[in-house]
């Protein structure tokens, strides 16, 4: 088991390293460098940077050095000082901007993962047990609609309905009276209420796929002889269903959760942008639109790393949940 964990974490470190390369490439992709963008920006504001200032900035960010040195400096900064670079648009260290928005992203992503999981598992079990019934077709159809309607359209429709029929202005994670309020139980409740709909919207995209996977896996498991064997020893249908096939169908389900994380993060970016939630999504979008590349690259890096961490966790949970994997990697079977 320990060996398995070491190997799995080793691979994920490699993946993280590759992700950081991709992110750095993205930072470097736009024509010109960071300082020239800064100069152009300053000019647009009617200010002018002196040649000296420019040189200081270039040196500060190692822009006069080859790309690998720049990459190394960037990574070194992140690893040692948690310094992700500088956001010229916010005129603040990128780290500050990220840290301000990341908690809400985690909350929202976690919430939609949870919803995706609950909905998909519930419907998945139902449709597998009641295969080819009216309910099966209905829920499958609903799942497909969730898959086919873009997240942002759902978000827009939600805003429209809220505004038009309930005269509510949607946006943000807090109702007006709580925006500036101190943390309290009521404020937390308000936050959760406001999170529910965005989380649900994000969840719609991922559930259809998971329902299908659960349904297929559970159908396979239901056909396994051990189900009939459990029945033949006189066990109750509901007990044996949950104890054996559903338990077995959990395993592939757990492993797909890892791959659902990227889709949830993707959905979060779009939905938050539409609903202007104070999460990373709109900030990332703004950074990309304005070529605030250090901020954008850093966000991307963090989102990627979060995803990798999520996949690793789901793999480890899977290994822990499946005795076959668990014993295989422990080396001492008997």
């Amino acid at each position: 088991m320990l060996q398995f964990m070491i190997r799995r974490i080793g691979w994920s470190l490699l993946t993280v390293w590759l992700i950081s390369l991709v992110c750095f490439f993205i930072i470097q992709a736009p024509p010109g460098d960071f300082v020239s963008v800064l100069m152009a920006n300053a000019e647009a504001d009617g200010r002018r940077l002196t040649a000296q200032q420019v040189d200081v900035l270039r040196e500060r960010y190692n822009l006069d050095q080859p790309w690998y040195a720049q990459y190394w400096a960037w990574i070194w900064g992140i690893l040692t000082e948690f310094d992700f670079g500088y956001s010229f648009r916010w005129n603040r260290p990128a780290t500050d901007v990220i840290m301000e928005h990341l908690p809400f992203t985690l909350l929202l992503a976690g919430g939609s993962m949870f919803l995706t999981w609950i909905i998909a598992f519930g419907i998945g079990i139902y449709t597998a047990v009641k295969r080819y019934s009216i309910g099966d077709y209905f829920w499958t159809f609903v799942g497909f609609i969730g898959l086919s309607v873009p997240n942002f359209v759902l978000a827009l429709v939600f805003m429209y309905v809220a505004f038009r029929y309930f005269d509510m202005s949607v946006g943000g994670l807090f109702s007006p009276e709580y925006v500036e309020a101190d943390w309290s139980a009521a404020r937390v409740l308000d936050l959760l209420q406001n999170l529910a709909v965005p989380a649900l919207i994000i969840a719609t995209a991922g559930t259809a796929g998971l329902i299908r996977i659960t349904r297929a896996n559970l159908s396979d498991e239901l056909a396994q002889p051990y189900v009939m064997a459990a029945r033949a020893r006189g066990q109750r249908e509901n007990v044996l269903l949950m104890r054996y096939p559903v338990r077995a169908a959990m395993n592939p389900f757990i492993s797909t959760i890892g791959y659902a994380i990227p889709s949830v993060i993707s959905g979060e970016v779009i939905v938050s942008s539409v609903l202007s939630l104070p999460t990373t999504g709109p900030v990332l979008l703004g950074a990309l639109r304005n070529q605030d590349m250090y901020l954008a690259g850093s966000f991307l890096l963090i989102l990627g790393v979060l995803t990798v961490i999520g996949t690793v966790i789901s793999d480890l949970v899977l290994a822990w949940a499946d005795p076959r994997v668990r014993r295989q990697h422990s080396g001492a079977a008997q």
Binding site: V22, L147, V149, V153, P262, S266, V269, V274, R289, F299
Partner: protein, 399 residues
């Protein structure tokens, strides 16, 4: 009985249910199978597919959508960029069947609009004028020349007002008085083709890498697997956004179109690659592939004659399921302003105008019409792909 489908019980000792061979059983079995015995796998796939009613309906819808894309010039009453400042945000017109009694005769008519200005807010409102009627006709001259499928020049439109400059907004207009219906029809061209071309590109990448990994195995496979996993663990939308943002703004519309397509396929190939690899791996060790090797068949022929045909139906199904994902990705990117830009018209670009909730309140059709197009197309493609996937293995359910 081996051709029976569905959950027919068999004693699990033998997968062959009807083994009363040699006696009259074999002959009887053989003659009753006469009709199906000579059916190729393709016709069996088709037969199974046809049982999915929803998938069949979806197939026709998809055919219809692509026909609209091909004949967009004929179907759209107005050119994509044609604007009319006299009709901002006008609501959809209704078509009436009537005879105005002024000699134009019995037929289909739409009403014109009248403008009212709110004396307090100075907002302009448009209402349909019950007295102003414009007669509609089929294949009428519109005054806008186009080349029909690149063959000849004409200005005939499938269904349009007989007076070329009459207001005709079946699905409403946007802020600049552009006809939403015409723009959605033109958007079909871009949105549906970007899905196809993007998937074609990812198919090339995915099949090549997947087949190489599955066939050669060993370190090559391990390496390709790592790359695939890397791409799968990245959140695609932020990555697309970042890469799309790196596309220089000064590029022409067509270049951007291709750049976006390439970007979409660069990230979208992973699932196809995994699918192909898995299939190739399992097919490699199939007895009949080993048998082909022992028959002295060349490696190339083993792949072409024995492995690929079993793959195609699965690939077609995967492709069909990949197209809607690409369409959604393009739409999302363009909606955020990072994908295609005006003057290109795609469904995503059209939805950009729905970004502002105020305009949606004023003119809900800005949101409804393009969204409906996206949903219909992706839903139909998803159902089609799902039906194809179920039908892809005609022998799976039979034994």
């Amino acid at each position: 009985m081996t051709t029976l489908e569905g959950p027919i019980p068999e004693d699990s000792f033998n997968r062959d249910a009807d083994n009363a061979e040699g006696s009259q059983g074999e002959q009887a079995a053989a003659s009753s199978k006469k009709d199906v015995g000579t059916r190729s796998s393709r016709s069996l796939v088709w037969r199974r597919f046809k049982r999915h009613k929803l998938a069949v309906v979806s197939l026709w819808i998809i055919v219809g959508v692509y026909l609209i894309a091909i004949f967009a010039d004929v179907i759209a009453p107005r050119p994509a960029g044609d604007y009319n400042p006299d009709y901002p945000y006008v609501a959809p017109q209704s078509i009436t069947l009537t005879d105005p009694g002024d000699g134009r005769g019995f037929g289909l008519y739409v009403h014109g609009y009248t403008q009212e200005i709110d004396p307090v807010s100075w907002n302009r409102y448009y209402t349909q004028d019950p007295d102003e009627l414009h007669k509609l006709g089929f294949f009428v001259s519109s005054g806008h020349d186009y080349r029909f499928l690149g063959l000849f020049t004409t200005d005939r439109k499938l269904f349009a007002p007989q007076e070329a400059d009459a207001p005709f907004f079946l699905m409403g207009a946007d802020a600049n008085g552009r006809d939403i219906f015409s723009r959605v029809v033109y958007g079909t061209q871009v949105s549906m083709s970007i899905g196809l071309i993007g998937v074609a590109l990812s198919l090339v990448i995915g099949i090549t890498l997947g087949a190489v990994a599955g066939f050669f195995r060993g370190p090559i496979d391990a390496f390709i697997q790592r790359i695939t996993e890397l791409f799968m663990s990245l959140p695609s939308i932020p990555l697309w956004m970042a890469l799309a943002a790196a596309i220089p703004r000064e590029w022409g519309p067509l270049t951007i179109y291709f750049a976006i397509t390439v970007l979409l396929s660069l990230i979208g190939w992973t699932s196809l690659s995994r699918e192909v690899r898995g299939r190739v791996l399992s097919l490699r060790s199939e007895d009949y592939v080993v048998a082909a090797r022992l028959d002295g068949v060349s490696r190339f022929r083993v792949i072409r004659r024995h492995i690929l045909p079993s793959l195609t139906s699965h690939i077609i199904a995967s492709v069909t399921l990949a197209v809607p994902a690409m369409i959604l990705a393009e739409t999302s990117l363009s909606f955020l302003g990072l994908g295609l830009q005006p003057p290109i018209v795609s469904w995503g670009v059209l939805l950009q105008e729905a970004q502002n909730i105020r305009s949606v309140i004023t003119a809900p059709w800005l949101l409804i019409v393009p969204s409906a197009a996206v949903v219909i197309a992706t839903l139909a493609l998803n159902f089609l792909g799902d039906g194809l996937r179920d039908a892809a293995d005609p022998y799976g359910g039979a034994r």
